[in-house]
Symmetry: C2
Subunit: 421 residues, 2 copies
């Protein structure tokens, strides 16, 4: 098989399908989503059998248990896929919305209309549920999509692709609107991210390694984040109870997520009071603390205490490890964040009005919070209804990306025969 030719054919078909999707009305797109959900319920046994083939191959290939776990399509995972589609149906249609129509002195009326981006390429790793989640968001937002899942999930993804195609056809939409790349050849990814004539944006979902690799080669723009080095700054005027709750939650609610706190900054004035009490909580989870000299002195006696190195400030642990630095106040905290943050999510804990406003305004990250856990930085928690990914970039979508991030605004002009003079 000539992969380049195959991918170009996929691209041409996706581009053609995207025109039909952009024309389709809300009811038709929602009908497709409901039909896909029903087909998944009906064919749950077939999906499990396909998943079994993937799992057997993966086990034979010696995949790590954690990977096998992510690859498994459990009954709960199937139910969640179906529930996810149902929730997407219930979301308001973002497409066609016209806003800000205003008359100009010339007599024309100018505003903007929300329209689909066109063709979305999605590259992901083992989890087969992404196939359905991503297809659902793209169908809802009137886009065509090209899905490239992990090679470990190929059987399950093929089975899901058939059900998605059935749902699209049942609603009278082109089956090419959702294409699952039917090869495990890595060259397919290389082709997908370098055909801007057929693909409008790439959403990579996966680990830092995958995304860093894609960034080097991609000529299609990406909605992506590389890592989440998130900070919580406990201000001198912090409410102690809030500082303890958020300091613990932001680190320990889940270790492996990108919105987990990796570095804690504490104002010198409150450090001797707050750090020992926080350490008591961290100890219940055996969290390793990597501390700067001042914090080391305050935390002396904590059983999992290590001196922080420069490298720690740049590290996303994704584990029960936290780096801690004592700072003079909000200026030093923001300087540290500006230098080391991955611009994902930062929070200040304070009761001081002016410090709260300054932190919100001056910290240049996708999410900036006052008195809340960084763990809230997420499409569902923000009320987007669903999330296709998270962006640490500043152009186009920033932060959790929902349906709107898969759309663009074009200008529309209502005229009455006006000409320019």
């Amino acid at each position: 098989m000539d992969i380049k030719q195959y991918m170009q054919d996929v691209g041409i078909r996706a581009r053609a399908a995207s025109r039909a999707m952009a024309r389709a009305d809300s009811a038709t797109r929602n009908r497709a989503l409901s039909l896909i959900a029903a087909a998944i319920v009906r064919d749950a046994d077939l999906l499990r059998a396909a998943n079994r083939r993937d799992l057997d191959a993966a086990a034979a290939a010696g995949l790590a248990p954690a990977m096998l776990d992510r690859l498994t399509l459990s009954d709960a995972a199937i139910a969640t896929m179906v529930e996810g589609l149902t929730q997407i149906v219930a979301l308001a249609d973002p497409i066609g919305e016209i806003s800000n129509m205003k008359y100009r002195p010339t007599g024309i009326q100018v505003g903007q209309m929300r329209v689909p981006l066109g063709v979305i390429g999605i590259i992901y790793e083992a989890r087969p549920n992404v196939t359905v989640d991503a297809a659902g968001l793209c169908i809802k937002s009137g886009n065509a999509t090209i899905l490239r899942g992990g090679s470990e999930a190929i059987h399950c993804n093929r089975a899901l692709a058939k059900l998605v195609a059935e749902g699209l056809a049942g609603a009278g939409l082109p089956q090419d609107a959702v294409q699952v790349i039917d090869t495990t050849d890595r060259a397919a990814v290389g082709a997908l991210i370098t055909m801007p004539e057929y693909v409008d944006v790439i959403v990579p979902r996966g680990g830092k390694g995958l995304i860093a690799r894609l960034m080097e080669e991609a000529t299609v723009p990406m909605i992506k984040h590389l890592d989440g080095i998130c900070h919580v700054y406990i201000d001198a005027k912090a409410d102690l109870a809030k500082a303890l709750d958020i300091g613990f939650n932001a680190k320990c609610h889940r270790y492996g997520t990108c919105n987990t706190m990796e570095t804690l900054l504490v104002a010198r004035a409150i450090a001797p009071q707050v750090l020992p009490q926080l350490a008591e909580r961290y100890l219940t989870k055996q969290v390793e603390l990597r501390a700067d000299p001042e914090a080391l002195a305050i935390l002396a006696g904590y059983p999992h205490l290590v001196a922080a190195t420069e490298e720690d400030w740049r590290t996303e642990y994704l584990a029960a490890i936290l780096s801690i630095k004592v700072v003079d106040g909000i200026d030093e905290a923001m300087d540290h964040i500006n230098q080391y943050s991955s611009r994902h999510t930062e929070a200040i804990i304070t009761e001081d009005y002016s410090d709260a406003l300054r932190f919100l305004r001056e910290v240049d990250s996708a999410s900036v919070m006052v008195n809340a856990s960084t763990r809230f930085a997420d499409g569902f928690e923000y009320g987007l209804g669903a999330e296709i990914g998270i962006s640490n970039d500043k152009l186009h979508a920033r932060g959790p990306v929902g349906l709107e991030g898969l759309t663009s605004l074009k200008y529309v002009v209502f005229g009455h025969g006006e000409v320019r003079t």
Copy 2:
């Protein structure tokens, strides 16, 4: 001079200055703009002298009269620069605006804040007024900027840079917030468009040749448009008077602009009626008509009539030339537009409600119009107050780009101690 090192230093200084700009309040940024305007008025003689040096060098180098004309800083051009700055001062500050703050079931309140992008790189050709226009928009939107003007205008740009620096300093803002590249070495452009760590977006202003060159090398995202192959479609249900006025204005108001019509599509039912009358108007301007076979037959006898080739549908003439095609109706018109348009601006002339709505919804261009001249696609005409450029891309800004296109939205969260459970 080591250009790479020089540009990196420029980048580092710009990044540092961007933090101060993001913190600066509206009054401070406006004061800088007013001081720059006053300095330009005061030093108009010096500017004209610097411009004279550029013009003498350009004349000695044998530059074409049209280029010399664009390079000339006339009294009118100076007055327009000053007036432009005054208008920018009067615009509402886009920075810091918080929108859509909504309570979530968890108790947190989530919304978005508009913030500067950071560092904007602007690459332009001869016109020295762009130095001041671009600096003004970047200062107003709280960004730092790196300006790289045409080498022909280097003396004038240096003189303007001094006045901009004076204005920034007078308002207490860092002079590095606007840096004019002080070398005519082309390697400086290559460096500027490949340092994403210091530059957030590049806005190229210039001809298709410049932009195509930049597109091949840039790793920094660009807000750009390559060309403007704009279409007007005269529907069977068009009002004849509107069709004649707009058909003439869209082509003949100005030939060299990107929003000028290059291809006219006419529904078969109305072509015999509208084309001869339009031709009468085009004849007053000696417009060359390149027609498909049907239009050729209808226009027989027109003195500047040529048979269109496939190449014509792909050509931006920027001249008194128009390609004309007779189509069956709106579907064929939209198919033609989808195939050949540069996605800049398209207009339909019709009194048919359903055709108007279909055209608005289904044509995938940055500006889509009903019964108005394509020449209206412009930041001033749309009410953006000023325009840094036009984008034919779908991500981030699309169509005329004003102050908002130089900003991004970050999420802000007001909490009260909430943690995720």
